[in-house]
C-alpha cells in the first residue's frame, strides 16, 4: 500500500532528526502535500495514526497536511494554469507542450517537539 510506505519513510526521517536534535516527544508534524502527488490525504492520516502508535517518540503526534495546488506551465504560450481542472492540454492555446511546475511535492515542513 502506497500511503503506508510513505508514512514509514516519514517516521524514519523524523527518527533521524529526533536523534540529531535529542527530541523526546514529537507533538506535531507538518507535511506539504502536492495536489497531484498521488497521495490520498485521508489514507495517509489513517496510516499515520496506526503507525505512530508503534513508536515511542511520536506516539501521540498529530499529522497536519498543507496542500499545494498543482500548476502547469505551457511552453508554447507561457501561461500557467490549474492542472487538475485542465489536465495536460493548455486551455489558452491547446498546446501539449506543457509541464508541471508544482503539485507533486511530498515535503516534511516542520516538526513540533520537546
Amino acid at each position: 500500500m502506497h500511503e503506508l510506505g510513505i508514512v514509514f519513510h516519514i517516521i524514519k526521517t523524523i527518527e533521524r532528526i529526533g536523534d540529531e536534535n535529542k527530541l523526546i516527544k514529537v507533538s506535531e508534524v507538518t507535511l506539504e502535500l502536492g495536489e497531484v502527488s498521488g497521495v490520498i490525504p485521508n489514507e495517509l492520516c489513517d496510516c499515520w495514526n496506526w503507525a505512530v502508535k508503534k513508536t515511542e517518540r511520536m506516539k501521540n503526534a498529530k499529522l497536519l497536511i498543507e496542500k499545494i495546488p498543482a500548476l502547469t506551465f505551457c511552453e508554447s504560450c507561457k501561461e500557467t494554469y490549474a492542472t487538475v481542472q485542465y489536465g495536460r492540454i493548455c486551455p489558452f492555446c491547446r498546446s501539449e507542450m506543457t509541464y508541471l511546475v508544482q503539485g507533486s511535492e511530498i515535503n516534511l515542513k516542520e516538526i513540533k517537539a520537546c
Partner: protein, 222 residues
C-alpha cells in the same frame, strides 16, 4: 517541563532515501559492480526480457538477479533456471523497494563474485519511480497492449528512467499502438531517454538493448 521547539525541515520525504541510494551507488562504483533497476506494470515482460538478456550476456558478465515482483515466486524459479544466482526480495506487501531494502537484497545475494546485478522491481509505474534504489541505471518496459499514452499518465517514471524498452512489438498489428507517439510523448518528458522497441518473445530488437547494456556495464566496471 521541556520547552516545545519547532524544527524546520523543509525537505522532500524522499531526501533520506536519495542520500542512501547515492551511498550505495558510490560503493557499487568502488566495488566495480553494476546494478540495473528494471520497472514496469505487471505482465509487461520484465521476466521474459531478463531471461533473453541473461542468455545473451552471461558469458561476458557474472550476473545475479534480485526478484521483487510480488506476483509469484515462479519468476525467481524461471530465472534460476538460466543458471544465474537469484534471490527473492520480500517487500512485505510494500508497493516499491527503497534504497535500504535494495542494500539488504544485495547483501543477501552476495555480490563478491558478480559484475552485473539486475533488480526486477515491484510491478507498478508509480511508487518505484519515487524511490531511488541506488541502481546505476534505471530501465522501464512498456508493452504494446498497455497503450501509447502511458507517458502522459505516468510522467514521473519516464523522467527517472535512462531507458524505455517497448516490448511485445510482435503484436503491433493487433493493437492501436502508435510507436512514434510514444517516442514523442516519452521524449517530451525526458529528452535523453533511450528507446528500444523489442519482442522478448521473438527476440526482435533485443540485440540493440543488450549492446546498450553491455556498453554501460563495461564503462562502469572498468
Amino acid at each position: 517541563m521541556e520547552k516545545v521547539r519547532i524544527i524546520e525541515v523543509k525537505e522532500s520525504i524522499f531526501a533520506d532515501n536519495d542520500r542512501e541510494a547515492e551511498r550505495i551507488r558510490l560503493q557499487l562504483k568502488q566495488e566495480k559492480k553494476f546494478l540495473l533497476n528494471l520497472m514496469s506494470s505487471p505482465g509487461s515482460g520484465k521476466t521474459t526480457t531478463l531471461i533473453r538478456t541473461i542468455e545473451a550476456l552471461k558469458d561476458e558478465f557474472r550476473i545475479g538477479v534480485m526478484e521483487a515482483d510480488i506476483e509469484s515466486s515462479v519468476d525467481a524459479e524461471k530465472i534460476a533456471a538460466t543458471g544465474v544466482k537469484t534471490i527473492q526480495i520480500h517487500t512485505g506487501g510494500m508497493c516499491h523497494l527503497d534504497a535500504g531494502m535494495t542494500e539488504q537484497g544485495l547483501k543477501e545475494l552476495g555480490t563478491e563474485d558478480l559484475d552485473l546485478v539486475i533488480l526486477e522491481n515491484v510491478g507498478n509505474l508509480v511508487c518505484p519511480a519515487e524511490f531511488d534504489t541506488g541502481a546505476v541505471k534505471n530501465a522501464m518496459i512498456l508493452s504494446v497492449p498497455e497503450g501509447h499514452d502511458k507517458p502522459l499518465k505516468y510522467p514521473l517514471i519516464f523522467t527517472v528512467c535512462d531507458v524505455l524498452i517497448i516490448n511485445k512489438i510482435d503484436v503491433l498489428p493487433y493493437f492501436d499502438f502508435d510507436l512514434e507517439k510514444v517516442r514523442e510523448y516519452a521524449q517530451m518528458r525526458n529528452p535523453n531517454l533511450k528507446i528500444f522497441p523489442v519482442s522478448a518473445k521473438t527476440g526482435e530488437g533485443m540485440d540493440d538493448w543488450n549492446s546498450w547494456l553491455r556498453q554501460q556495464v563495461n564503462d562502469w566496471i572498468q
